[in-house]
Amino acid sequence: MAAGIKDKVAILGMGCSKFGERWDSSPEDLMVEAYNEAMRDAGIAPQQLDAAWFSTHMDDVGTGRGGTPMSIALRLPNIGVTRVENFCAGGSEAVRAAVYGVASGACDIALALGVEKLKDTGYGGLPVATVGTYIPQWYPNAVAPANFAQLAAAYQAKHRVDPQLLKRAIAHVSVKSHANGAKNPKAHLRKEITEEQCLKAPMIARPLGLFDCCGVSDGAAAVIVTRPEIARGLGKQDLITFKALQVAVSNGWEMQSNEWDGSYVHTTRIAAKKAYAEAGITRPRETVSMTEVHDCFSITELVTMEDLFLSAEGEAVRDVMDGVFDADGEVPCQIDGGLKCFGHPIGASGIRMLYEIYLQLLGRAGERQLPNPRVGLTHNLGGQPSQNVCSVSIVGRLGA
């Protein structure tokens, strides 16, 4: 196995815009908002940036293609700006590129920024995507809720879960995220909800109701990374470093073979195992202080707890109902509200997850601050259960 990235790169600064229906703001405005906060936090001048990676998913609404939209919006000093796109996991990919760039020594300080402007389509939900010329000729006219709802169908069948119990468990996931999001001033959705509201909400894709689906938001998030010695040279004391950055991508096996049973996400298990190995973590439930996972739908979060080996297989329903992942639970999940309530501006989400862990590790999370977190994990999933890109990142205090 490769030596890995553990403790080779530190976070110099981070920023995140307010997420939500930002009718007032263009994608350029959102980028500036996140960038300014990150640059202030890093305490550097633009000329100190050596390279930048830019994550945005939908180019037909929003910013457009290539690296120029970000370079122009931020008036960057003619450095290399590379657009990365990997479905909803693009934000984590921009971070990975910047971290690797810094770790290699090819650059000293790099910026990764993700942005998405989803509310210029005229309708709710994600924009209708185009996927080449062949796939539309046979593939269903699929939408994300129904793709992820199938996890529920297969999970329920495999583990023989009573449908009402599963519905209640995924409602608990959303109730928890709303309670957390209510305490986050940058979150899109800031109202608490009840289990009853969840259960009675209009059906979007059976069995997922309205409150089982995450917010579709405008927003941007940014991170500036460097090597630890440079960070110290710039006066940083409490360093947050990367422990692991892993990505696993489907190769069609789940979608085409008869071997995958549809009840879990294959790539998450692969990325998680590799990430724990890279970070040197052998007992994730005891070691990981908090997680920010890709809760695009409530069922995704529930299944992800098993795929990250935080719950034993078939036991996530019980753990969720027991409050293991609540704010005051053993391994708090989505303390910032998650995709569900902080919101999901696609290209920014992976960096937003990192932002929350960064704040928590530095004790800057205000009303929602967790007691003494040491190691955080982000799980950023793009695509759908049967075919996807999964990124698992682990960050912690240097030496943790």
Binding site: W138, A146, A152, A205, N258, G262
Partner: protein, 490 residues
């Protein structure tokens, strides 16, 4: 032995529109229909047209196992062919995975077109060693509150014509061509224009049809009283009995015209009734089929001993038993393209088809042909050069592996109400095929409650998307629950 019918099949869409619901919806405008609004008429699902129904009837005829290499010609007959320029029968051939050397032709015109097609099929079978697949389908549009709306139905039928194992020998035929215009539909128009019924009955049908019946029977060297089954589709009440009486055919020989459940399926209707008759026919039985339209045609068949050795996959009786009554008149109008429903912005998505891509992958798309790895036996859809074998992808090991006639089971599914779909909620999910293979695919002919994990599914050829901007349809396969008669699942 002379040539004749060697196989038959039918197709009646699952939905059966309640005539009472139609008449009641229109009663404010056309109260005259209330009195005669009994029973149902068949209604094609939104994703069906004459091509897909012809494929369904052909598959009903051919079943899963018959050697399709014997088919050496395909004739598709319809007055509602989806494409004016593009060989509609070519789509049928591709869906049936016939060899690309098989000639195919479209036929259209009057209500007698299916019998004209039959005549050509018989002539071709005389001179070729193989079989001719004749398929007829119609899905006619009608004006709201018209009597045609109640009388017409959607459906299809198929006959396999050949000279080996003939189950109904062709023994007589007659044609009368006359430009008698009882109704017409110009190019570019959607709806038939009818002349007065009394004139059509008395001056048209009553004079021209008995003439061809007499000639066909003479050709077959039979007398009218020897006819055991008389097929004469007509939307006019008791017209069949009147023609029989006038022609000297016994009243008990008159075959029921399926008006009660199906309605008149246009060009296809004679063959559909014939398929129904053949399902219970006995050796020696004489069948006379006649149709009226721009003149008249008649054909005579004698059932052979081989009749007992053929069974269609589902059969007309089977399709009749599978119906579900539809009581929403607005659904009827929407499926017929006569109601401009609000689709929301999600309904604006461009459905342009790359024809280059469609041709390159025609066997996978139209034929549902997967790739089966000759080393591992693993089935790949869509087929690919490299196999998905974990850790050991094999190169160029896949051979064509058709999935259309295989059944499967639902692994996972959902029904979503977010996006635009003509029949919400949109059901789709992963189907695992018996013998291997998995496709995430759309489900059709389903209502909430019809599908769950493990539900047994079979494949149907349907319209995938309509490109309304350019006037194009693309076709693919969908999964539908395996159903026994009376609409219950397997």
């Amino acid at each position: 032995m002379r040539v004749g019918i060697v196989g038959y099949g039918g197709y009646v869409p699952r939905l059966r529109m309640s005539r009472k619901a139609v008449a009641q919806a229109n009663a404010w405008f056309a109260p005259q229909h209330l009195g005669r609004a009994k029973g149902t008429r068949s209604l094609a699902n939104w994703d069906e047209d004459s091509i897909t129904m012809a494929v369904a009837a052909s598959r009903d005829c051919l079943g899963a196992d018959r050697d399709r290499a014997a088919i050496r010609s395909v004739i598709l007959v319809s007055s509602t062919l989806p494409f004016a320029e593009r060989l509609n029968a070519g789509v049928v051939c591709a869906a049936l995975r016939l060899d690309e050397t098989v000639p195919a032709s479209d036929m259209t015109g009057a209500q007698t077109a299916a019998l004209a097609g039959l005549s050509q099929a018989l002539a071709q079978a005389q001179v070729t060693a193989g079989e001719v697949l004749l398929s007829a389908a119609d899905i006619r549009r009608t004006r709201a509150a018209s009597s045609s709306e109640l009388d017409y139905g959607d459906g299809a039928a198929a006959l396999l014509i050949g000279s080996r194992d003939v189950i109904a020998e062709h023994i007589g035929e007659a044609v009368h061509t006359a430009d008698f215009v009882d109704h017409f539909r110009m190019e570019g128009e959607n709806i038939d224009y009818h002349w007065e019924e009394r004139w059509v009955r008395d001056e048209g049908i009553a004079k021209l049809v008995p003439k061809v019946i007499a000639q066909a029977l003479s050709d077959a060297k039979l007398t009218p009283d020897q006819v055991d089954s008389f097929i004469f589709p007509s939307i006019f009440s008791k017209m069949d009995a009147q023609v029989a009486k006038h022609s000297g055919i016994r009243p008990e020989a008159v075959v029921g015209n399926l008006a009660e459940l199906v309605g008149d399926t246009g060009v296809a209707h004679g063959l559909l009734m014939l398929a129904g008759v053949l399902e219970t026919a006995k050796p020696g039985q004489v069948i006379l089929i006649a149709q009226f339209g721009s003149g008249a045609r008649a054909s005579v068949f004698r059932v052979t001993d081989a009749i007992a050795r053929f069974k269609p996959k589902t059969g007309v009786a089977g399709w009749l038993g599978r119906g579900v009554e539809e009581s929403s008149y607005t659904r009827f109008l929407a499926y017929k393209g006569q109601l401009d429903l609000e689709r929301g912005m999600r309904g604006e998505q461009d459905k342009k088809t790359a024809l280059t891509t469609a041709y390159r992958h025609r066997r996978a798309i139209l034929g549902l042909v997967a790739g089966r790895c000759t080393v591992t036996g693993q089935v790949h859809f869509p087929p690919s050069r490299l196999s998905y074998t974990q850790g050991a992808p094999a190169l160029d090991t896949q051979e064509p592996y058709p999935l259309a006639e295989r059944r499967g089971a639902v692994l996972s599914w959902s029904a979503e109400s977010l996006s635009y779909h003509p029949a919400p909620p949109n059901h789709y999910g992963q189907v695992d095929f018996d013998g291997g293979g998995r496709i995430l695919m759309e489900f059709t002919d389903v209502a909430p409650g019809d599908v769950d994990t493990g539900t047994r599914m079979e494949m149907v050829f349907r319209i995938k998307d309509r490109d309304e901007q350019r006037g194009f349809k693309r076709y693919f396969w969908k999964a539908t629950p395996v159903r026994a008669a009376a609409g219950s699942s397997e």
